[in-house]
Protein backbone atom coordinates (compact mmCIF):
# COMPACT_ATOMS: atom_id res chain seq x y z
CA UNK A 1 0.00 0.00 0.00
CA UNK A 2 1.58 3.20 -1.16
CA UNK A 3 0.66 6.03 1.14
CA UNK A 4 1.22 9.25 -0.70
CA UNK A 5 1.41 11.09 2.62
CA UNK A 6 4.60 9.27 3.56
CA UNK A 7 6.04 10.02 0.14
CA UNK A 8 5.45 13.70 0.70
CA UNK A 9 6.94 13.58 4.17
CA UNK A 10 10.11 11.95 2.90
CA UNK A 11 10.53 14.64 0.29
CA UNK A 12 10.07 17.47 2.72
CA UNK A 13 13.23 19.33 3.63
CA UNK A 14 14.28 20.16 7.17
CA UNK A 15 13.63 23.79 6.39
CA UNK A 16 10.03 23.10 5.35
CA UNK A 17 9.48 21.06 8.49
CA UNK A 18 10.78 23.87 10.66
CA UNK A 19 8.35 26.23 8.97
CA UNK A 20 5.46 23.82 9.41
CA UNK A 21 6.05 23.19 13.11
CA UNK A 22 6.87 26.83 13.76
CA UNK A 23 3.60 27.96 12.22
CA UNK A 24 1.48 25.31 13.94
CA UNK A 25 3.22 25.92 17.25
CA UNK A 26 2.59 29.65 17.19
CA UNK A 27 -1.06 29.19 16.29
CA UNK A 28 -1.57 26.57 19.00
CA UNK A 29 0.11 28.86 21.51
CA UNK A 30 -2.08 31.82 20.58
CA UNK A 31 -5.22 29.70 20.64
CA UNK A 32 -4.62 27.94 23.93
CA UNK A 33 -2.43 30.02 26.22
CA UNK A 34 -5.24 32.04 27.88
CA UNK A 35 -7.33 28.91 28.46
CA UNK A 36 -4.47 26.86 29.83
CA UNK A 37 -3.43 29.74 32.06
CA UNK A 38 -6.93 30.00 33.55
CA UNK A 39 -7.14 26.25 34.02
CA UNK A 40 -3.81 26.30 35.85
CA UNK A 41 -5.12 29.19 37.92
CA UNK A 42 -7.77 26.92 39.36
CA UNK A 43 -4.95 25.35 41.38
CA UNK A 44 -3.74 28.71 42.67
CA UNK A 45 -4.56 30.55 45.85
CA UNK A 46 -6.73 33.66 45.74
CA UNK A 47 -3.70 35.86 46.43
CA UNK A 48 -1.73 34.47 43.55
CA UNK A 49 -4.68 34.99 41.18
CA UNK A 50 -5.16 38.57 42.33
CA UNK A 51 -1.51 39.52 42.07
CA UNK A 52 -1.04 37.61 38.82
CA UNK A 53 2.42 36.46 39.88
CA UNK A 54 3.73 33.46 38.03
CA UNK A 55 2.29 31.21 35.34
CA UNK A 56 2.37 28.03 37.43
CA UNK A 57 0.43 27.52 40.66
CA UNK A 58 2.59 28.16 43.70
CA UNK A 59 1.61 27.15 46.24
CA UNK A 60 -0.48 24.42 44.68
CA UNK A 61 -3.97 24.07 46.13
CA UNK A 62 -7.22 22.31 45.31
CA UNK A 63 -9.21 24.60 47.60
CA UNK A 64 -10.82 26.20 44.51
CA UNK A 65 -12.52 22.95 43.58
CA UNK A 66 -13.75 22.49 47.12
CA UNK A 67 -15.15 26.05 47.05
CA UNK A 68 -16.78 25.46 43.68
CA UNK A 69 -18.99 22.81 45.25
CA UNK A 70 -19.34 23.89 48.87
CA UNK A 71 -19.82 27.62 48.28
CA UNK A 72 -20.99 28.03 44.69
CA UNK A 73 -22.93 24.73 44.64
CA UNK A 74 -21.75 24.09 41.11
CA UNK A 75 -23.11 20.53 41.14
CA UNK A 76 -26.70 21.82 41.32
CA UNK A 77 -26.24 23.95 38.20
CA UNK A 78 -24.39 21.14 36.49
CA UNK A 79 -27.37 18.87 37.16
CA UNK A 80 -29.72 21.49 35.65
CA UNK A 81 -27.54 21.79 32.59
CA UNK A 82 -27.25 18.04 32.29
CA UNK A 83 -31.04 17.87 32.32
CA UNK A 84 -31.39 20.57 29.65
CA UNK A 85 -28.66 19.14 27.44
CA UNK A 86 -29.66 15.50 27.92
CA UNK A 87 -33.39 15.83 27.42
CA UNK A 88 -33.02 18.65 24.88
CA UNK A 89 -30.79 16.40 22.79
CA UNK A 90 -33.26 13.54 23.06
CA UNK A 91 -36.12 15.84 22.05
CA UNK A 92 -34.26 17.24 19.08
CA UNK A 93 -33.10 13.82 17.92
CA UNK A 94 -36.51 12.22 18.26
CA UNK A 95 -38.43 14.97 16.47
CA UNK A 96 -35.77 15.36 13.78
CA UNK A 97 -35.50 11.63 13.12
CA UNK A 98 -39.26 11.28 12.86
CA UNK A 99 -39.43 14.20 10.42
CA UNK A 100 -36.27 13.39 8.47
CA UNK A 101 -37.38 9.91 7.45
CA UNK A 102 -40.57 10.73 5.51
CA UNK A 103 -38.97 13.90 4.11
CA UNK A 104 -36.05 11.84 2.80
CA UNK A 105 -38.03 8.90 1.41
CA UNK A 106 -41.41 10.00 0.14
CA UNK A 107 -42.57 12.64 -2.26
CA UNK A 108 -45.72 14.49 -1.40
CA UNK A 109 -47.17 17.93 -1.79
CA UNK A 110 -45.31 20.53 0.24
CA UNK A 111 -42.31 18.31 0.90
CA UNK A 112 -39.75 20.53 -0.76
CA UNK A 113 -41.16 23.61 0.90
CA UNK A 114 -40.90 21.94 4.31
CA UNK A 115 -37.33 20.80 3.72
CA UNK A 116 -36.38 24.30 2.58
CA UNK A 117 -38.02 25.90 5.62
CA UNK A 118 -36.37 23.54 8.09
CA UNK A 119 -32.98 24.07 6.45
CA UNK A 120 -33.39 27.82 6.20
CA UNK A 121 -33.77 27.98 9.98
CA UNK A 122 -30.09 26.98 10.18
CA UNK A 123 -29.20 30.27 8.55
CA UNK A 124 -31.24 32.43 10.89
CA UNK A 125 -29.32 34.58 13.39
CA UNK A 126 -31.47 33.49 16.32
CA UNK A 127 -30.61 36.43 18.55
CA UNK A 128 -32.73 38.51 16.19
CA UNK A 129 -35.74 36.51 17.38
CA UNK A 130 -35.11 37.06 21.09
CA UNK A 131 -38.17 39.11 21.95
CA UNK A 132 -40.70 37.05 19.96
CA UNK A 133 -39.33 33.82 21.43
CA UNK A 134 -39.60 35.31 24.91
CA UNK A 135 -43.17 36.33 24.10
CA UNK A 136 -44.14 32.88 22.82
CA UNK A 137 -42.47 31.09 25.72
CA UNK A 138 -44.23 33.31 28.24
CA UNK A 139 -47.58 32.90 26.48
CA UNK A 140 -47.18 29.12 26.74
CA UNK A 141 -46.49 29.40 30.45
CA UNK A 142 -42.98 28.03 29.94
CA UNK A 143 -41.07 31.07 31.14
CA UNK A 144 -38.49 30.31 33.83
CA UNK A 145 -39.30 26.61 33.82
CA UNK A 146 -37.01 23.65 33.41
CA UNK A 147 -39.36 21.77 31.13
CA UNK A 148 -39.68 24.96 29.07
CA UNK A 149 -35.93 25.09 28.60
CA UNK A 150 -35.87 21.44 27.49
CA UNK A 151 -38.55 22.18 24.87
CA UNK A 152 -36.86 25.36 23.66
CA UNK A 153 -33.51 23.60 23.34
CA UNK A 154 -35.12 20.71 21.47
CA UNK A 155 -36.54 23.25 19.04
CA UNK A 156 -33.27 25.17 18.70
CA UNK A 157 -31.32 22.00 17.88
CA UNK A 158 -34.03 20.65 15.59
CA UNK A 159 -32.94 22.28 12.27
CA UNK A 160 -29.32 21.15 12.50
CA UNK A 161 -30.26 17.65 13.61
CA UNK A 162 -32.90 17.38 10.90
CA UNK A 163 -30.60 18.49 8.09
CA UNK A 164 -27.83 16.06 9.04
CA UNK A 165 -30.15 13.10 9.60
CA UNK A 166 -32.04 13.68 6.36
CA UNK A 167 -28.79 13.90 4.40
CA UNK A 168 -27.70 10.64 5.99
CA UNK A 169 -30.97 8.92 5.10
CA UNK A 170 -30.76 10.21 1.53
CA UNK A 171 -27.37 8.54 1.24
CA UNK A 172 -28.67 5.25 2.68
CA UNK A 173 -30.19 2.77 0.24
CA UNK A 174 -33.89 2.21 0.93
CA UNK A 175 -33.98 -1.49 -0.03
CA UNK A 176 -34.10 -2.84 3.51
CA UNK A 177 -37.06 -0.72 4.51
CA UNK A 178 -38.85 -1.42 1.27
CA UNK A 179 -38.42 -5.13 1.91
CA UNK A 180 -39.76 -4.74 5.43
CA UNK A 181 -42.76 -2.77 4.21
CA UNK A 182 -43.48 -5.32 1.49
CA UNK A 183 -43.41 -7.97 4.19
CA UNK A 184 -46.23 -6.10 5.82
CA UNK A 185 -44.40 -4.17 8.51
CA UNK A 186 -46.16 -0.95 9.43
CA UNK A 187 -44.62 2.50 9.16
CA UNK A 188 -43.45 2.85 12.75
CA UNK A 189 -42.34 -0.76 12.98
CA UNK A 190 -40.14 -0.23 9.94
CA UNK A 191 -38.93 3.10 11.28
CA UNK A 192 -37.87 1.79 14.67
CA UNK A 193 -36.86 -1.78 13.80
CA UNK A 194 -35.11 -1.20 10.47
CA UNK A 195 -34.25 2.46 9.93
CA UNK A 196 -33.27 3.43 13.46
CA UNK A 197 -30.49 0.83 13.83
CA UNK A 198 -29.07 1.85 10.45
CA UNK A 199 -29.11 5.51 11.44
CA UNK A 200 -27.27 4.96 14.72
CA UNK A 201 -23.89 6.37 13.60
CA UNK A 202 -25.51 9.58 12.37
CA UNK A 203 -27.60 9.84 15.53
CA UNK A 204 -24.45 9.49 17.63
CA UNK A 205 -22.69 12.31 15.80
CA UNK A 206 -25.58 14.77 15.98
CA UNK A 207 -26.24 13.83 19.60
CA UNK A 208 -22.75 14.85 20.70
CA UNK A 209 -22.90 18.12 18.81
CA UNK A 210 -26.38 18.97 20.08
CA UNK A 211 -25.39 18.11 23.65
CA UNK A 212 -22.32 20.32 23.55
CA UNK A 213 -24.30 23.15 21.94
CA UNK A 214 -26.92 23.07 24.69
CA UNK A 215 -24.32 22.68 27.45
CA UNK A 216 -22.63 25.83 26.16
CA UNK A 217 -25.80 27.84 25.52
CA UNK A 218 -26.03 31.22 27.19
CA UNK A 219 -28.29 33.55 25.21
CA UNK A 220 -31.66 31.84 25.61
CA UNK A 221 -30.91 30.70 29.15
CA UNK A 222 -30.25 34.34 29.99
CA UNK A 223 -33.46 35.37 28.23
CA UNK A 224 -35.80 32.72 29.59
CA UNK A 225 -34.60 31.89 33.11
CA UNK A 226 -34.65 34.06 36.20
CA UNK A 227 -34.79 31.74 39.22
CA UNK A 228 -31.56 30.90 40.92
CA UNK A 229 -32.50 27.20 41.04
CA UNK A 230 -33.15 26.95 37.30
CA UNK A 231 -29.91 28.50 36.09
CA UNK A 232 -27.56 26.61 33.82
CA UNK A 233 -23.78 26.58 34.20
CA UNK A 234 -23.18 29.27 31.58
CA UNK A 235 -25.33 31.74 33.52
CA UNK A 236 -23.31 30.91 36.61
CA UNK A 237 -20.05 31.50 34.71
CA UNK A 238 -21.32 34.84 33.47
CA UNK A 239 -22.27 35.71 37.05
CA UNK A 240 -18.73 35.03 38.26
CA UNK A 241 -17.44 38.02 36.38
CA UNK A 242 -19.63 40.51 38.18
CA UNK A 243 -18.87 39.01 41.61
CA UNK A 244 -15.24 38.40 40.84
CA UNK A 245 -13.96 39.61 44.18
CA UNK A 246 -16.23 37.37 46.13
CA UNK A 247 -14.85 33.89 45.58
CA UNK A 248 -12.29 33.96 42.88
CA UNK A 249 -10.76 30.53 43.49
CA UNK A 250 -14.14 28.84 43.39
CA UNK A 251 -15.10 30.77 40.27
CA UNK A 252 -11.95 29.84 38.36
CA UNK A 253 -12.10 26.19 39.42
CA UNK A 254 -15.81 26.10 38.59
CA UNK A 255 -15.22 27.57 35.15
CA UNK A 256 -12.52 24.97 34.57
CA UNK A 257 -14.90 22.14 35.46
CA UNK A 258 -17.65 23.56 33.24
CA UNK A 259 -15.23 23.79 30.30
CA UNK A 260 -13.87 20.31 30.92
CA UNK A 261 -17.23 18.67 30.21
CA UNK A 262 -17.36 19.52 26.48
CA UNK A 263 -13.57 19.19 26.19
CA UNK A 264 -13.65 15.65 27.59
CA UNK A 265 -16.64 14.76 25.43
CA UNK A 266 -14.71 16.01 22.44
CA UNK A 267 -11.55 14.11 23.36
CA UNK A 268 -13.49 10.88 23.82
CA UNK A 269 -15.83 11.26 20.85
CA UNK A 270 -13.54 13.24 18.60
CA UNK A 271 -14.51 11.41 15.45
CA UNK A 272 -18.22 11.97 16.06
CA UNK A 273 -17.86 15.64 16.91
CA UNK A 274 -15.75 16.47 13.88
CA UNK A 275 -17.89 14.37 11.55
CA UNK A 276 -21.12 15.85 12.88
CA UNK A 277 -19.91 19.41 12.49
CA UNK A 278 -18.51 18.80 9.03
CA UNK A 279 -21.72 17.15 7.89
CA UNK A 280 -23.87 19.92 9.31
CA UNK A 281 -21.78 22.61 7.68
CA UNK A 282 -21.56 21.19 4.24
CA UNK A 283 -25.27 20.63 3.87
Amino acid sequence: MIDSGTVTIRRRSAWTNTLIYGFLGIVALLALTPTVWVMLSSFKTGEQIFTGNGFWPSPFTTQGFVDAFTQIHLHEYMLNTLLYAGLGTVGALASAFLAAYPLARFSFRGRNALVALFSLALALPLVGLATPVFFVVRALGLFDSQIGMVIVYSALQFPFTFVVLRAFLLATPPELEEAAMIDGAGYFTTLFRVVLPLTRPALATVAVVAFVNIWNEFFFANLLLVSEENRNVQLVLAGFKSQFGFNVTGAVAGATLVMLVPICLFLILQRQVIAGLTAGAVK
Partner: protein
Protein backbone atom coordinates in the same frame (compact mmCIF):
# COMPACT_ATOMS: atom_id res chain seq x y z
CA UNK B 1 -22.24 14.17 1.88
CA UNK B 2 -22.07 11.71 4.68
CA UNK B 3 -18.64 12.37 5.99
CA UNK B 4 -20.07 11.40 9.34
CA UNK B 5 -20.63 7.74 8.66
CA UNK B 6 -17.07 6.73 9.21
CA UNK B 7 -15.04 9.81 9.56
CA UNK B 8 -11.47 8.72 9.50
CA UNK B 9 -9.59 11.32 7.61
CA UNK B 10 -6.29 11.15 5.93
CA UNK B 11 -4.38 8.06 7.01
CA UNK B 12 -6.58 5.63 5.12
CA UNK B 13 -8.14 8.40 3.08
CA UNK B 14 -5.39 8.28 0.53
CA UNK B 15 -6.43 4.77 -0.33
CA UNK B 16 -9.98 5.91 -0.71
CA UNK B 17 -8.94 8.87 -2.74
CA UNK B 18 -7.17 6.67 -5.19
CA UNK B 19 -10.15 4.39 -5.35
CA UNK B 20 -12.41 7.36 -5.83
CA UNK B 21 -10.43 8.51 -8.79
CA UNK B 22 -10.28 5.02 -10.21
CA UNK B 23 -14.03 4.68 -10.27
CA UNK B 24 -15.26 8.16 -10.72
CA UNK B 25 -18.19 9.29 -8.68
CA UNK B 26 -20.93 6.77 -8.61
CA UNK B 27 -24.25 8.37 -7.86
CA UNK B 28 -23.73 7.70 -4.19
CA UNK B 29 -20.26 9.19 -4.15
CA UNK B 30 -19.55 5.69 -2.93
CA UNK B 31 -16.05 4.54 -2.84
CA UNK B 32 -14.78 1.01 -2.62
CA UNK B 33 -12.49 0.43 0.24
CA UNK B 34 -11.12 -3.04 0.65
CA UNK B 35 -14.44 -4.48 -0.36
CA UNK B 36 -16.36 -2.43 2.18
CA UNK B 37 -18.37 0.26 0.56
CA UNK B 38 -18.12 3.47 2.46
CA UNK B 39 -19.73 6.77 1.79
CA UNK B 40 -17.18 9.49 1.91
CA UNK B 41 -17.36 12.28 -0.51
CA UNK B 42 -19.43 14.85 1.28
CA UNK B 43 -19.67 17.19 -1.66
CA UNK B 44 -21.72 15.17 -4.05
CA UNK B 45 -25.43 14.75 -3.52
CA UNK B 46 -25.71 11.09 -2.78
CA UNK B 47 -28.78 10.15 -4.71
CA UNK B 48 -31.46 11.82 -6.67
CA UNK B 49 -34.01 12.80 -4.03
CA UNK B 50 -36.33 9.88 -3.45
CA UNK B 51 -39.52 10.12 -5.39
CA UNK B 52 -41.60 7.30 -3.98
CA UNK B 53 -45.18 8.17 -3.15
CA UNK B 54 -46.29 7.44 0.36
CA UNK B 55 -47.38 3.77 0.40
CA UNK B 56 -51.08 3.13 0.86
CA UNK B 57 -52.28 3.26 4.42
CA UNK B 58 -49.20 5.12 5.60
CA UNK B 59 -50.41 8.67 5.15
CA UNK B 60 -51.66 8.76 8.72
CA UNK B 61 -48.44 7.48 10.30
CA UNK B 62 -46.37 9.81 8.14
CA UNK B 63 -48.41 12.78 9.32
CA UNK B 64 -48.00 11.68 12.94
CA UNK B 65 -44.30 11.29 12.34
CA UNK B 66 -43.98 14.84 11.03
CA UNK B 67 -46.01 16.30 13.84
CA UNK B 68 -43.42 16.79 16.64
CA UNK B 69 -40.98 18.51 14.29
CA UNK B 70 -43.71 20.70 12.83
CA UNK B 71 -44.89 21.70 16.30
CA UNK B 72 -41.41 22.60 17.52
CA UNK B 73 -40.55 24.42 14.34
CA UNK B 74 -43.88 26.22 14.13
CA UNK B 75 -43.83 27.33 17.75
CA UNK B 76 -40.24 28.45 18.06
CA UNK B 77 -39.33 29.56 14.52
CA UNK B 78 -42.39 30.34 12.40
CA UNK B 79 -44.55 32.07 15.02
CA UNK B 80 -41.62 34.18 16.31
CA UNK B 81 -40.75 35.24 12.76
CA UNK B 82 -44.36 36.34 12.18
CA UNK B 83 -44.45 38.16 15.52
CA UNK B 84 -41.16 39.83 14.64
CA UNK B 85 -42.31 41.03 11.24
CA UNK B 86 -45.65 42.27 12.54
CA UNK B 87 -44.42 44.07 15.64
CA UNK B 88 -41.41 45.68 14.02
CA UNK B 89 -43.93 48.25 12.81
CA UNK B 90 -45.49 48.81 16.20
CA UNK B 91 -44.83 50.34 19.56
CA UNK B 92 -45.15 47.33 21.82
CA UNK B 93 -44.15 46.59 25.35
CA UNK B 94 -45.94 43.30 25.84
CA UNK B 95 -49.37 44.74 26.71
CA UNK B 96 -49.71 48.16 25.12
CA UNK B 97 -49.73 48.03 21.36
CA UNK B 98 -49.95 50.67 18.63
CA UNK B 99 -49.05 50.62 14.95
CA UNK B 100 -46.42 53.21 14.21
CA UNK B 101 -45.50 52.41 10.63
CA UNK B 102 -41.82 52.94 9.97
CA UNK B 103 -41.16 54.91 13.15
CA UNK B 104 -38.97 52.20 14.65
CA UNK B 105 -36.73 52.22 11.61
CA UNK B 106 -36.58 56.01 11.59
CA UNK B 107 -35.58 56.03 15.25
CA UNK B 108 -32.93 53.43 14.51
CA UNK B 109 -31.34 55.35 11.68
CA UNK B 110 -31.32 58.51 13.79
CA UNK B 111 -29.51 56.79 16.64
CA UNK B 112 -25.70 57.09 16.52
CA UNK B 113 -25.44 54.14 18.93
CA UNK B 114 -27.18 51.94 16.37
CA UNK B 115 -24.52 52.83 13.81
CA UNK B 116 -21.76 52.21 16.32
CA UNK B 117 -23.23 48.78 17.00
CA UNK B 118 -23.54 48.12 13.27
CA UNK B 119 -19.94 49.15 12.58
CA UNK B 120 -18.66 47.04 15.48
CA UNK B 121 -20.62 44.02 14.29
CA UNK B 122 -19.14 44.42 10.82
CA UNK B 123 -15.71 44.87 12.39
CA UNK B 124 -16.02 41.50 14.13
CA UNK B 125 -17.28 39.97 10.91
CA UNK B 126 -14.27 41.38 9.08
CA UNK B 127 -11.94 40.01 11.76
CA UNK B 128 -13.43 36.58 11.11
CA UNK B 129 -13.27 36.80 7.34
CA UNK B 130 -9.79 38.28 7.09
CA UNK B 131 -7.99 36.79 10.08
CA UNK B 132 -9.80 33.78 11.53
CA UNK B 133 -10.81 32.01 8.32
CA UNK B 134 -7.47 32.49 6.48
CA UNK B 135 -5.62 31.30 9.58
CA UNK B 136 -7.88 28.25 9.79
CA UNK B 137 -7.43 27.51 6.10
CA UNK B 138 -3.66 27.80 6.46
CA UNK B 139 -3.54 25.50 9.47
CA UNK B 140 -5.89 23.02 7.81
CA UNK B 141 -3.73 22.91 4.70
CA UNK B 142 -0.56 22.43 6.68
CA UNK B 143 -2.09 19.73 8.89
CA UNK B 144 -3.34 17.96 5.78
CA UNK B 145 0.30 17.49 4.78
CA UNK B 146 0.29 15.13 7.75
CA UNK B 147 3.46 16.21 9.48
CA UNK B 148 4.40 13.89 12.35
CA UNK B 149 1.93 14.39 15.19
CA UNK B 150 -0.73 16.03 13.04
CA UNK B 151 -3.56 14.25 14.83
CA UNK B 152 -2.53 15.52 18.23
CA UNK B 153 -2.04 19.01 16.80
CA UNK B 154 -5.49 18.94 15.22
CA UNK B 155 -7.01 17.93 18.55
CA UNK B 156 -5.17 20.70 20.40
CA UNK B 157 -6.12 23.35 17.90
CA UNK B 158 -9.74 22.22 17.91
CA UNK B 159 -10.22 22.37 21.68
CA UNK B 160 -11.03 26.11 21.96
CA UNK B 161 -13.99 25.53 19.64
CA UNK B 162 -15.89 23.49 22.23
CA UNK B 163 -15.42 26.09 24.96
CA UNK B 164 -18.48 28.26 25.51
CA UNK B 165 -18.71 32.00 24.99
CA UNK B 166 -19.39 32.53 28.69
CA UNK B 167 -16.27 30.57 29.64
CA UNK B 168 -14.26 32.51 27.09
CA UNK B 169 -15.55 35.75 28.54
CA UNK B 170 -14.31 34.71 31.97
CA UNK B 171 -10.97 33.53 30.57
CA UNK B 172 -10.34 36.78 28.75
CA UNK B 173 -11.57 39.05 31.51
CA UNK B 174 -8.74 37.48 33.51
CA UNK B 175 -6.29 37.43 30.62
CA UNK B 176 -6.77 41.14 29.82
CA UNK B 177 -6.99 42.21 33.45
CA UNK B 178 -4.84 45.36 33.80
CA UNK B 179 -3.17 44.28 37.06
CA UNK B 180 -3.31 40.51 37.32
CA UNK B 181 -3.78 39.54 33.67
CA UNK B 182 -1.34 37.33 31.85
CA UNK B 183 -1.08 39.69 28.88
CA UNK B 184 0.13 42.69 30.84
CA UNK B 185 2.38 40.56 33.03
CA UNK B 186 3.97 39.01 29.96
CA UNK B 187 4.43 42.43 28.36
CA UNK B 188 5.93 43.74 31.57
CA UNK B 189 8.30 40.80 31.76
CA UNK B 190 9.44 41.67 28.23
CA UNK B 191 10.11 45.21 29.35
CA UNK B 192 7.14 46.64 27.47
CA UNK B 193 4.52 48.90 29.01
CA UNK B 194 2.15 46.51 30.77
CA UNK B 195 -0.56 48.58 32.35
CA UNK B 196 -3.15 49.03 29.62
CA UNK B 197 -6.77 48.13 30.34
CA UNK B 198 -7.24 46.41 27.02
CA UNK B 199 -10.99 45.87 27.23
CA UNK B 200 -11.92 49.26 28.58
CA UNK B 201 -9.67 51.51 26.56
CA UNK B 202 -11.54 52.77 23.49
CA UNK B 203 -8.35 52.47 21.45
CA UNK B 204 -8.02 48.73 21.99
CA UNK B 205 -11.42 47.45 23.15
CA UNK B 206 -12.68 46.18 19.80
CA UNK B 207 -9.39 44.51 18.97
CA UNK B 208 -9.30 42.94 22.41
CA UNK B 209 -12.76 41.45 21.84
CA UNK B 210 -11.81 40.25 18.36
CA UNK B 211 -8.66 38.73 19.89
CA UNK B 212 -10.84 36.38 21.93
CA UNK B 213 -12.29 34.61 18.91
CA UNK B 214 -9.98 34.98 15.91
CA UNK B 215 -7.81 32.09 17.11
CA UNK B 216 -10.76 29.76 17.60
CA UNK B 217 -10.12 28.16 14.24
CA UNK B 218 -10.79 24.49 14.92
CA UNK B 219 -13.97 24.42 12.93
CA UNK B 220 -12.44 25.91 9.80
CA UNK B 221 -9.48 23.54 10.18
CA UNK B 222 -11.59 20.37 10.21
CA UNK B 223 -13.77 21.59 7.34
CA UNK B 224 -10.69 22.27 5.24
CA UNK B 225 -9.08 18.95 6.15
CA UNK B 226 -12.23 17.04 5.21
CA UNK B 227 -12.29 18.82 1.88
CA UNK B 228 -8.62 18.14 1.17
CA UNK B 229 -9.17 14.45 1.97
CA UNK B 230 -11.51 14.34 -1.03
CA UNK B 231 -8.92 15.65 -3.51
CA UNK B 232 -7.52 12.79 -5.62
CA UNK B 233 -3.92 12.01 -4.64
CA UNK B 234 -2.97 11.56 -8.28
CA UNK B 235 -2.92 15.32 -8.63
CA UNK B 236 -0.20 15.59 -6.00
CA UNK B 237 1.70 12.60 -7.31
CA UNK B 238 1.75 14.10 -10.78
CA UNK B 239 2.85 17.43 -9.38
CA UNK B 240 5.63 15.77 -7.37
CA UNK B 241 6.87 13.95 -10.44
CA UNK B 242 6.96 17.26 -12.27
CA UNK B 243 9.06 18.66 -9.44
CA UNK B 244 6.52 20.89 -7.74
CA UNK B 245 7.50 21.90 -4.21
CA UNK B 246 5.23 21.47 -1.20
CA UNK B 247 4.51 25.18 -1.33
CA UNK B 248 3.58 25.03 -5.01
CA UNK B 249 1.32 22.04 -4.40
CA UNK B 250 -0.47 23.91 -1.64
CA UNK B 251 -0.99 27.13 -3.55
CA UNK B 252 -1.55 25.77 -7.05
CA UNK B 253 -3.55 22.61 -6.37
CA UNK B 254 -5.06 22.64 -2.91
CA UNK B 255 -6.04 26.29 -2.48
CA UNK B 256 -8.08 26.66 -5.69
CA UNK B 257 -9.97 23.47 -4.84
CA UNK B 258 -10.89 24.85 -1.45
CA UNK B 259 -12.98 27.70 -2.84
CA UNK B 260 -16.23 26.05 -1.88
CA UNK B 261 -15.29 25.13 1.65
CA UNK B 262 -13.75 28.54 2.31
CA UNK B 263 -17.06 30.08 1.27
CA UNK B 264 -18.90 27.74 3.61
CA UNK B 265 -16.59 28.59 6.50
CA UNK B 266 -17.02 32.31 5.90
CA UNK B 267 -20.77 31.87 5.73
CA UNK B 268 -20.98 30.03 9.02
CA UNK B 269 -18.68 32.50 10.73
CA UNK B 270 -20.63 35.50 9.44
CA UNK B 271 -23.85 34.08 10.84
CA UNK B 272 -22.19 33.74 14.22
CA UNK B 273 -20.74 37.26 14.06
CA UNK B 274 -24.00 38.89 12.99
CA UNK B 275 -25.61 37.50 16.11
CA UNK B 276 -22.61 38.06 18.35
CA UNK B 277 -23.79 38.54 21.91
CA UNK B 278 -22.45 36.33 24.72
CA UNK B 279 -18.83 37.45 24.65
CA UNK B 280 -19.52 41.16 24.39
CA UNK B 281 -22.40 41.13 26.85
CA UNK B 282 -20.41 39.35 29.53
CA UNK B 283 -16.96 40.84 28.86
CA UNK B 284 -17.74 44.52 28.40
CA UNK B 285 -21.54 44.92 28.30
CA UNK B 286 -20.84 46.88 25.13
CA UNK B 287 -18.52 49.41 26.78
CA UNK B 288 -16.49 51.51 26.92
CA UNK B 289 -18.80 54.12 25.43
CA UNK B 290 -20.41 51.44 23.19
CA UNK B 291 -17.05 50.81 21.54
CA UNK B 292 -17.65 47.05 21.60
CA UNK B 293 -21.47 46.92 21.41
CA UNK B 294 -23.02 44.74 18.72
CA UNK B 295 -26.40 44.83 17.00
CA UNK B 296 -27.59 41.87 19.06
CA UNK B 297 -26.63 43.67 22.26
CA UNK B 298 -28.34 46.84 21.02
CA UNK B 299 -31.54 44.90 20.36
CA UNK B 300 -31.28 43.22 23.75
CA UNK B 301 -31.03 46.58 25.50
CA UNK B 302 -34.21 47.72 23.75
CA UNK B 303 -35.90 44.52 24.90
CA UNK B 304 -34.79 45.16 28.48
CA UNK B 305 -36.22 48.67 28.26
CA UNK B 306 -39.58 47.21 27.32
CA UNK B 307 -39.35 48.60 23.77
CA UNK B 308 -40.23 45.28 22.19
CA UNK B 309 -41.38 46.66 18.87
CA UNK B 310 -38.12 48.56 18.55
CA UNK B 311 -36.11 45.49 19.57
CA UNK B 312 -37.87 43.53 16.85
CA UNK B 313 -37.17 46.17 14.24
CA UNK B 314 -33.48 45.82 15.13
CA UNK B 315 -33.91 42.05 15.07
CA UNK B 316 -35.32 42.27 11.57
CA UNK B 317 -32.27 44.26 10.50
CA UNK B 318 -30.01 41.56 11.95
CA UNK B 319 -31.88 38.85 10.08
CA UNK B 320 -31.92 40.79 6.81
CA UNK B 321 -28.18 41.49 7.05
CA UNK B 322 -27.71 37.78 7.67
CA UNK B 323 -29.68 36.85 4.58
CA UNK B 324 -27.92 39.44 2.42
CA UNK B 325 -24.52 38.17 3.57
CA UNK B 326 -25.52 34.59 2.85
CA UNK B 327 -26.62 35.40 -0.68
CA UNK B 328 -23.51 37.52 -1.32
CA UNK B 329 -21.07 34.92 -0.03
CA UNK B 330 -22.80 32.12 -1.90
CA UNK B 331 -22.58 34.12 -5.10
CA UNK B 332 -18.98 35.16 -4.54
CA UNK B 333 -17.78 31.67 -3.77
CA UNK B 334 -20.21 30.02 -6.15
CA UNK B 335 -21.36 27.61 -3.51
CA UNK B 336 -23.48 24.85 -5.01
CA UNK B 337 -27.23 24.65 -4.90
CA UNK B 338 -27.23 22.96 -1.52
CA UNK B 339 -29.74 24.51 0.81
CA UNK B 340 -28.41 26.26 3.84
Amino acid sequence: MSAFTKHRPPRSASRKRRAAAAEPAGPGGQVRDGGRARRRNHRRPAKPVAGTRIPRGMRGPVAVSLLPGLLLFGTFFLVPVFVLVATAFARWGGLDFAWVGLDNYRQMFDDPVFFKAMVNTLFYAAASVFIQVPLGVGVGMVLALRPRGWKALRTIIFIPFVISGAAYALIFSMFYNPRAGLLNNALGALGLPGDRDWLFDTATARWAVAGTFVFVIGFVVVLVMAEIASIPTEMYEAASVDGASTWQQLTRITLPLLRNVIGTAILIRLLVDIGMFDLVYILTAGGPDDATATLALYAYRAYLNGEWGYANAVGSVIIVIGLVLIVTVRRTFRIGERAL
